[in-house]
């Protein structure tokens, strides 16, 4: 249910539905069900961890410096305030993870963690497809790919035409 609502959020650009503030109730010891008055939010009751209730994280605005840094690093373009808003909301959404008590739990970084890593024999089985590889290249010189001379870094914030400038 959660995954589905997340996808809907992506499409609509809206904040995903959250539980009511009254989740900070006196329930202790069990991830109980909600009763009267909460029929619309019952689907979230299984995900409550009543013993561990941190404060809601403060609403942090992402600074212009960080946005500029991100534009340099990932070559994304936030383009306008809606793009930045979406980022803010994404961060807020992810911050919900703080509500889970992970003391003593090893982080998982891949669903493959229990799989065996397959070891390949050291045989030459690929290559020799220069023509195919160069087919997609816009420019080539004698079977070399052509690239600009070194990295061209994104100009500094002051010199870029980006709306981020205005928000400084």
């Amino acid at each position: 249910m959660r995954a589905l609502s997340f996808v809907r959020w992506l499409r609509a650009g809206r904040v995903p539905p959250r539980g009511p503030e009254s989740r900070h109730s006196g329930d202790s010891g069990h991830s109980g069900h909600r009763h009267s008055g909460d029929s619309g939010h019952r689907v979230y009751s299984e995900y409550r961890y009543s013993e561990y209730r941190p404060q809601d994280p403060p609403q942090q605005k992402v600074s212009v410096e960080v946005l500029d840094h991100l534009e340099h690093l990932a070559l994304v373009d936030f383009r306008d305030s809606e793009g930045v808003e979406r980022l803010q909301k994404a961060i807020q959404f992810a911050d919900q993870l703080h509500e889970v008590n992970t003391d003593g739990v090893e982080p998982m970084d891949s669903v493959l963690e229990d799989r065996c890593l397959y070891l390949r024999e050291d045989d030459v089985t690929e290559g020799n497809c220069t023509k195919e590889l160069l087919e997609n290249a816009r420019e080539k010189v004698e079977e070399y790919f052509v690239a600009p001379p070194g990295n061209i870094p994104l100009p500094k914030l002051e010199e870029r035409e980006t709306f981020l400038q205005g928000s400084k």
Partner: protein
């Protein structure tokens, strides 16, 4: 940025001794038939982009598949350098943009590398006559498996870069040496010994001229009792001789800069072999943020030893550290000891014998066939043979007896 120091205090300043600190990051190309994560061939000097698979070119839909031989090479090297082998190691992505890195990231082992906490012993001559040798040790911080990048050829006339991906994806072992060295001579001796070890193991051919062994030096200076100074990274060092020169030049440059009231920038510098000096490298993008993340397409690499080896297992799919340990060849230090013991030659001469490829074997066969006294054979080798070979630019292997 210059500090104002009065002539008197700068005089005092320069009297205090400087302690240079040198650490090394060494990339050794793994000697294997195919690449680290794909089945394309590893070969020096082939037609451009002929040894490139779809994965190496980072075409969508391709996945990394780990080469067993590369893992074995890294384990061998770790064992030879007295490292602890991590039975579980992980792969990560290191992100940066460059034309010779088509994926936009390099697969490496940043969190948990395959081997850690080793040591390398090497020897130095105290004087020029090689009559007194001293043994030093440098700690090995870690060894990690990672991908090599492709090659960029800069065409400045046409303002473009030509990219050849033949080298992209070749397996590398990065050997990180702690900053335990203090001068160019030590750095050169340590790298030379590492080179000999790699060649003995066969895990890398370690020929610097062919780019199979690349060394970056981290250099800083400080006064005794004070914290370490700002370090610079020196790249583009193409031989062991140039390594010593580059390190010594950089130490001297830093001392002079500091004694003149200047500061050292935490920068990357290139060694210019023609001028014999280091120059700042073209500043790419300031400090890099590599945004390390776990490689999602590779599960952890699990290694076993005889105790932990699961029963009923496909032997091709497991690597047994003990099995590799048992099959390690004699390392150079052991070979030298054996030569000294067996033939009664001087330790310095055992170094000379191992310094030239094939010379030790040649020496042994001469002793065997001529029944001459080993010390006499050594004398002939040192006085006549080596200079003859040098004059005619031959190697021992090329010269037929």
């Amino acid at each position: 940025n210059y500090l104002r120091i009065s002539p008197f205090s700068s005089f005092l300043f320069s009297l205090a001794p400087w302690i240079p600190v040198v650490g090394l990051e060494i990339h050794a190309q793994i000697s294997s038939n195919s690449k680290l994560f794909s089945g394309s061939q590893v070969q020096f000097a082939a037609p451009p982009n002929s040894l490139v698979s779809f994965f190496d070119a980072s075409l969508p839909g391709t996945l990394p598949v780990l080469n067993r031989r590369c893992v074995e090479a890294a384990v061998m090297t770790g064992l030879a350098l007295n490292c602890s082998i991590n039975k579980k190691s992980l792969f990560d992505r290191k992100h940066y943009f460059y034309a010779d890195l088509p994926a936009g990231y390099q697969i490496t082992q940043q969190r948990v590398p395959i081997a850690v906490n080793g040591s390398l012993s090497y020897s130095l001559c105290i004087d020029n006559k090689m009559s007194q040798m001293v043994t030093k040790t440098v700690r090995i911080k870690q060894i990690q498996l990672e991908q090599d990048s492709g090659k960029s050829l800069h065409d400045d006339t046409r303002c473009q870069t030509l990219v050849d991906l033949n080298r992209a994806g070749v397996g590398l072992m990065e050997v990180v040496m702690e900053p335990d060295m203090c001068c160019g001579e030590e750095a050169a001796a340590a790298v030379r010994e590492l080179q000999l070890i790699l060649q003995t193991l066969g895990s890398s051919q370690a020929v610097m001229a062919e780019g199979q062994l690349r060394v970056d030096a981290n250099v800083s200076v400080h006064h005794p009792g004070e914290p370490y100074g700002v370090r610079t990274e020196v790249k583009n060092i193409n031989s062991i001789r140039f390594l010593a020169k580059a390190v010594d030049y950089e130490i001297q440059r830093q001392i002079e800069e500091l004694e003149n009231g200047g500061t050292i920038l935490n920068e990357t510098r290139a060694f210019d072999s023609k001028l014999g000096c280091t120059v700042p490298m073209r500043d790419k993008e300031g400090k890099q943020d590599y945004r390390f993340m776990p490689e999602p397409n590779l599960p952890p690499l699990i290694l076993y030893d005889t105790k932990s080896l699961p029963a009923n297992v496909n032997h091709q799919q497991v690597i047994n550290i003990d099995w590799i340990q048992e099959r390690l060849p004699d390392l150079p230090s052991v070979k030298r000891e054996k030569l000294v013991e067996q033939y009664g030659i001087l330790p310095e001469h055992s170094f000379t014998l191992l310094n030239e490829d094939g010379l030790a074997e040649f020496f042994e066969s001469v002793v065997k066939q001529t029944q001459m006294k080993p010390k006499k054979v050594i004398g002939w080798i040192l006085n006549d043979l080596l200079s003859y070979l040098k004059q005619h630019s031959l190697t021992v292997k090329e010269r037929s007896v």
